[in-house]
């Protein structure tokens, strides 16, 4: 197959775009697509201080690479979850994130959950007895909290994650099958800051196929963690991704179409009845915005777990500020 731009040997054929490209033209094309999403959804501008949540995977490292190439001021945040899974998942993903940042002279903040708060994510899940044997719900809660916290403390105006089209469509499918109006109303490429001083949240890869991100990492020579988090195995997200890929196989472009028509329907007000601004106020302990009365769920979770572990509870305010290591 030939590259549509130069006639050279193509390395990727994107049926959804009826477009085949060679390595060089692909490396130029993908960042242009990301830039288009950033502009179209008004995610951030070159004046913004951007914080990229990196996991060591292809999406987040690829995104960081693209943002740096596009000239944005983007620092990274790696959150160490303490997940082993038989092959040192967290250790490996941290090492890859550090190597990536080091080689490019990019600034990476590192927060180790265990060192900062006193337990690993799997431990936290077991002790708190949340999530039916899966650590994903406490993991998500901690990641969201720490990202907001570091963005806030570091003066970042935009917080970005590497969610790709396949991630977004999997969530969309799940929410649609449940007609979860509230979730549908909130699923968006960019979420405005809910309070002054908080960072905007954006997903610059929301229109990029997962396959395109994997291809970008390979062609660009990004060393990323190939094995996924051991707790992702058998997740509903993976199940929906598989289903959607079957659809895509028969109808190239179906995933993108599903997502874009959802955004259009939302724009036209289809979910506005379900949209409600959550009632946010500051957590009495840590000051982070929360919908819970009194203390936020992060503070309450850690109180419970630290009590079980015999650690002092009532985390002092200084500890609620995670210890952040920064390099280079």
């Amino acid at each position: 197959m030939k590259c549509r731009k130069c006639g050279g040997a193509a390395v990727i054929n994107m049926r959804q775009h009826k477009l085949a490209l060679c390595a060089e033209d692909y490396l130029a094309w993908l960042p242009e697509q990301v830039q288009r999403s950033i502009e179209k959804y008004e995610m951030f501008s070159p004046a913004d201080k951007v914080l990229v949540a990196v996991s060591g995977g292809k999406d987040s490292l690829g995104l960081w690479d693209i943002l740096a190439r596009l000239g944005y001021q983007a620092d990274g945040l790696y959150i160490g979850l303490g997940i082993h899974g038989g092959f040192g998942y967290s250790d490996q993903s941290r090492a890859l994130s550090q190597a990536f940042a080091g080689a490019r002279g990019l600034k990476l903040h590192i927060v180790e959950v265990e060192a900062a708060y006193g337990a690993t994510i799997p431990e936290l899940a077991v002790i708190s007895n949340r999530g039916h044997g899966r650590p994903c719900s406490v993991c998500g809660l901690n990641k969201r909290y720490i990202m907001n916290r570091v963005a806030h403390d570091g003066g970042y105006t935009a917080l970005v994650t590497g969610h790709n089209l396949d991630d977004e469509v999997a969530v969309l499918m799940q929410n649609t099958l449940n007609w979860a109006g509230g979730y549908l109303a909130r699923q968006a490429p960019v979420l405005a800051a809910t309070r002054p001083g908080l960072a905007r949240k954006a997903k610059p890869l929301c229109r990029i196929y997962e396959r395109e991100m994997a291809a970008y990492a390979i062609v660009r020579g990004i060393d990323y963690i190939y094995d996924e988090c051991p707790h992702a195995v058998g997740s509903t997200t993976l199940y929906y991704k598989e289903l959607l890929n079957q659809l895509e196989e028969k109808r190239p472009g179906a995933k993108l179409q599903f997502y874009l028509s959802f955004l259009q329907a939302k724009e036209a007000g289809l979910f506005s009845a379900a949209a409600s601004e959550p009632d946010l106020h500051a957590c009495q302990r840590c000051g982070q915005p929360t919908t819970a009365p009194g203390e936020c769920s992060f503070c309450r979770l850690w109180d419970k777990v630290r009590a079980v572990k015999g650690l002092p509870t009532r985390l002092p305010a200084s500890m609620l500020q995670p210890h952040v290591e920064t390099e280079p």
Binding site: K143, D167, R211, I218, E228, T237, Q246
Partner: protein, 66 residues
């Protein structure tokens, strides 16, 4: 020499003369979910397999609940 496909550490044999896409389907994978790498370089899935080729299939899907 047969054609070899390697996916998640496992080896599969494929027929010379078929395309990467057909070979991927034949071992039960969705073509949409893998990329083919030959000698460290990405190749498109209409590439016709030749005797002696060793192709690494890279899974593109990852991720859990977030």
């Amino acid at each position: 020499m047969p054609v070899k496909l390697v996916y998640r550490g496992k080896e599969y044999e494929a027929n010379a003369g078929s395309t990467v896409r057909d070979a991927v389907r034949k071992i039960g994978l969705q073509p949409e979910t893998v990329l083919a790498v030959l000698d460290g370089k990405l190749i498109t899935d209409d590439t016709v397999l030749r005797e002696g080729m060793q192709i690494r299939l890279v899974a593109v899907i990852s991720g859990g609940a977030g």
